[in-house]
């Protein structure tokens, strides 16, 4: 006997329910890791004037790099500029919460750190911020991953992840490569 139109629709609805379950499972995993592991995309609506960035207190040249702040938190500040990072090498400890703060005086840049989940766009006008924990030690590559002009391909820096015991801040709390 012939299959009716409603039979067809019923099979489609059944399939749609399977799809719904698959989608819900992904959704649930995202929410679960959001709650348990605090996984979010890096977001930080904090504005800063790119035209006067070098006149700002926080992103003045001498304040760049890694610093253990007086309250004990580790913050690494990096400026992305055409076509280099300042500083070109930063040190961070392994298995400790680290906050990376990045911004730019000129155009759009972006970074990732190979082998980690550190990844953010750097948009002029904003401070990009990534909270993370580095899980492996070694010299990692931190390239600019967003087209920023003709020198883009040569724009990269090094992130030196060191064991906690080799991470020795100076009197001001700063740690630098070399």
């Amino acid at each position: 006997m012939a299959v009716s139109e409603s039979d067809i629709l019923r099979s489609e609805v059944r399939w749609a329910m399977i799809v719904g379950v698959a989608v819900a499972v992904i959704f649930a995993a995202v929410i679960y890791t959001g709650i348990e592991l605090h996984v979010n995309p890096p977001s930080n609506i904090e504005t800063i004037d790119p035209k006067a960035l070098h006149l700002s207190n926080e992103f003045t040249e001498s304040n760049l790099g890694t610093r253990v702040e007086p309250e004990g938190r580790i913050t690494t500040r990096i400026v992305a500029t055409q076509f280099a990072f300042d500083p070109p090498c930063v040190v961070v400890p392994a298995n400790e919460p680290v906050t990376l703060r990045l911004t730019t005086p000129d155009v759009i840049h972006g970074i990732l750190v190979t082998g980690t989940n550190v990844n953010t766009m750097i948009v002029p006008g904003y401070v990009a911020q990534v909270h993370t924990v580095f899980t492996k030690t070694g010299d990692l590559l931190m390239p600019c991953h967003e087209y920023c002009g003709l020198g883009h391909s040569q724009m990269w820096a090094t992130v030196r992840v060191v064991p906690r015991e080799s991470f020795r801040p100076d009197a001001e709390g700063r740690v630098a490569c070399d």
């Binding site: 929410i31 959001g34 709650i35 605090h38 979010n40 890096p42 977001s43 930080n44 609506i45 904090e46 004037d49 035209k51 006067a52 960035l53 070098h54 006149l55 700002s56 207190n57 926080e58 003045t60 040249e61 001498s62 304040n63 702040e69 007086p70 309250e71 938190r73 913050t75 500040r77 400026v79 500029t81 055409q82 076509f83 280099a84 300042d86 070109p88 919460p97 906050t99 703060r101 005086p105 000129d106 155009v107 401070v127 911020q129 909270h131 002009g149 003709l150 020198g151 883009h152 391909s153 040569q154 724009m155 990269w156």
Partner: protein, 277 residues
Amino acid sequence: MSVESEAEDRPWQVRASVIVVAIVVVAALLGFVVLPVVQGRSAGVDAFSAICRALGLQAGSPAVRQPVSATRAEPVSLVAWTEEVIARLHNPNEENGSDLAANICASCHGADGVSPDPAFPHMAGQSAFAIYKQLHDFKNGARGNEIMASVVEQLDDEQMADIAAHFAYFTKGALDPTTPVTNDPAIVRLVERGITARGLPACASCHGAHAGGPIETPTLAGQRHEYLAAQLRAFAKGERRNDIYHRMRDIATKLTDSEIEELAAYYAGIGLYQRIK
């Protein structure tokens, strides 16, 4: 063969709208309330702040407290490209600019911006931004040079802008960056391609014809050999430090002495041509 009437279609419209809106509402509740509040609680961020952060009304992640910094600025240059400065450079007082240039600048840098003495740089071909930045830095001590400091001492910001715009207008498009006289492949490579392994971008990525680099980037084509080499050495030694965020200091320290010499020769060898006016 017919499409249902409006009345018959009403349930469809209602059902579709309810589903679409309900999904948005659930997503918003999760994204703006549940996730931030739960994340904030374990990070020591109060519920109100966490929700504000999730909405974008406050800076920071709902899951982490914001870091603080108590450092004071130590700027290497006081020039900021604010809308006002840019506007002034676009709309200078031309008469003022040419008078000042004739009286103050011409003896060393030439009446038309082409310097008669190898020790002094040409102004020809420079943009108003490039000249203004250096004048301002000389005046404020960001770039050390006794002669220039005394020359610009008496000038205010507007006068410096007028001078800068004067030279830029006078020699607009006056340089041909495509005709080098040196053809050392290693140097051409440095200029055109850079060296990724050494973190050296191509010189042309800022100083080339279609670069899109920082607006204060000076034109190197046709510049004085002695001047270029001296500046690169000064950057390398940290004697000159008015390039914000080490843009040139980083590059110059990575160059060898002979590369500096050859690069200076390369750029000096690119000719001046078809001067406007």
